[in-house]
Symmetry: C2
Subunit: 109 residues, 2 copies
């Protein structure tokens, strides 16, 4: 049904899934990497950099902004985006708790 039964899972599990979903598209990965790489905050050069149409990039940026991973600031006709440091750090804590689980058991198979 394409609908995720979020109510069956813990808040933590849904949170992990939501962050992961944001990274689940290479364009959003590329956008974030670019924002990290460029010292000056980048606006719509992302469209050229990534190579997708402007509305598509705008949509991906919106998702990242809604999750709180980036911020946008209007500067004249341009918009300047950058990583939301504090939230990025918080996100890392959540993801690392999941990724860094200790593997206590020996493999069964």
């Amino acid at each position: 049904m394409g609908i995720t039964k979020s109510e069956k899972f813990t808040e933590q599990q849904n949170q992990i899934a939501n962050f992961a979903k944001a990274f689940g598209h290479p364009a959003r990965v590329a956008i974030l990497q670019h924002l990290f790489k460029i010292n000056t905050c980048i606006c719509g050069d992302l469209v050229e950099e990534i190579g997708l149409a402007q509305p598509t990039i705008s949509q991906h940026l919106k998702e990242l902004k809604n999750l709180g991973l980036i911020k946008g600031n209007i500067e004249g006709t341009k918009v300047c985006y950058c990583i939301h440091k504090e939230n990025w750090t918080k996100m890392k804590l959540v993801m690392n708790e999941f990724l860094d689980q200790d593997i206590l058991t020996t493999e069964c198979c």
Copy 2:
């Protein structure tokens, strides 16, 4: 169009996105957490544990297996699943390189 233009991105970006997509559903997060938690490798108790229908769980398990994050072993009429340690470690390297990027810039906004 619902189709991701993977060819526009680097192999690394696609790899990150593919791993992230696997974690982008709380059921798969829950499955993995359960496999980590339980000392004995778990088979279809996952169906009871997670609370989704058996074909649904089976489908999620298949995705995780295709990505190489878990292994399955047939034991009689049951199937025993566990984390694929080596691949999990490799996945962590890829994800951490992405997540742990240094934020050199000051925020612009």
